[in-house]
Assembly symmetry: C2
DNA sequence: GAGTGGTCTAGACCACGTT
DNA sequence: ACGTGGTCTAGACCACTCC
């Protein structure tokens, strides 16, 4: 069926035969056809609606799935020594600015951390993190001097929902200072917000040196 | 089962009961358990291996799935008028430089296009595209004066495999000129390579104005 | 109301990897 | 060799949605 779609025998926009017909023509059970079509639907190649049937999608976008690795793993993978420094740690009450970027309520206690991740002693990533202590009270007892908040959160707190934003910008003062940038380099920024069943967990802004950071993805249509 | 994983009742690294046991304890058929576990495996929450059983994954990375929209759609969605200009069009033979970025063979005929996409008359995206004419001979007959190569390729050529790279950089000469940038702004670069069953189709570099471009993703652990 | 996909069952056999 | 997941079958009922 994938071949038929790729060869345009089943063209975009057209509906394909019913499950029962396909099962008969392929000489298999309807459950098998159902599973195959469900996989095609999961891959975004077809759209299925009850009563309306199954139709081949006219793809307008391409999905790209990125794995955002632990910074420590990422650095060690290239054979360099990982370094970590906690720059700032403070507890604040969320103000309107933080409420905007974060999903927290105003007046919530928030733990703010600023950390620097190094590769062979060179600055690699500047991390600015805010943790909602109402959702994650345990974070207040961690000093984060040795273990970074990213790794701590991953092992301590699951999440149910995540949102990422990628962008490029000129470095701000903090970034220029800690990443040791001059004005001839850009920064690649990853922002991430996560929730645990509707409750805000954390907002983090990860800044990377533009000239030495690239994010890769590989996607296959069914594989 | 998702709840049990989230609540750490089934902790990361542990193996979960066999399908048959689960089917009995949940009072359903093994096929139902199998499908549920397969969905958890697709979502990356568990790992399954024959004979070894099913174990909860210790997640080290978080996946983020981005939909990279058609630039025309993206602009029109914000209520602005889409504009398109073809800047350059030439046919070249692939040299070693192109072979490196692209997956083509040296000496293949390549169509090179440079296009500008505008929003309300303002530069929005600079597109540098190379198309392998051996895989896509039809592209040689298109002038791409009216319709951009992205839309043409989407409707004309399917693909089986894609690779994306995101990065941030300072604008180069072309980008500074065509995107009308001064030296106080960065560019957000999307590079994409696609293949059709092993054959290289296209390599494209999309440059965006850093201060006004953000790429969003939203991911849920099972929806 | 009727037709489509969504889901489940109880059973079977197979493929693969560990032992 | 054996135990696990992978896949399939034939049949059934249900839920949604279009007409």
């Amino acid at each position: 069926m994938l071949t038929r779609i790729m060869d345009r025998e089943w063209a975009p926009g057209e509906t394909v035969p019913h499950e029962e017909d396909l099962a008969r023509s392929y000489g298999c059970a309807r459950a098998t056809v159902n599973r195959a079509l469900r996989e095609l639907a999961d891959a975004g190649l077809v759209e299925r609606r009850r009563k309306a049937g199954t139709r081949v999608v006219q793809r307008e976008t391409r999905g790209a799935t990125f794995q955002i690795p632990l910074v420590r793993v990422e650095i060690e993978k290239t054979g360099r020594a990982y370094g970590y420094r906690l720059l700032r740690r403070s507890t604040v009450l969320s103000d309107s600015d933080l409420v905007g970027r974060f999903d927290t309520s105003e007046g919530n206690p928030i733990l703010h951390l600023q950390c620097l991740h190094l590769a062979d002693g060179e600055p690699y990533q500047l991390e600015n993190r805010w943790i909602d202590l109402k959702t994650v009270p345990d974070a207040a007892d961690e000093d984060f001097e040795i273990i970074g908040p990213n790794e701590w959160l991953l092992s301590a707190i699951p999440f149910t929902h995540a949102e990422h934003v990628f962008s490029a910008a000129m470095p701000n003062g903090d970034e220029r200072e800690h990443l040791q940038l001059d004005s001839t380099d850009a920064v690649f920024i990853i922002e991430r917000r996560t929730w645990l069943s509707g409750n805000p967990v954390t907002y983090v802004r990860l800044s990377h040196i533009g000239s030495s950071f690239r994010l890769h993805s590989q996607d296959t249509d069914l594989g």
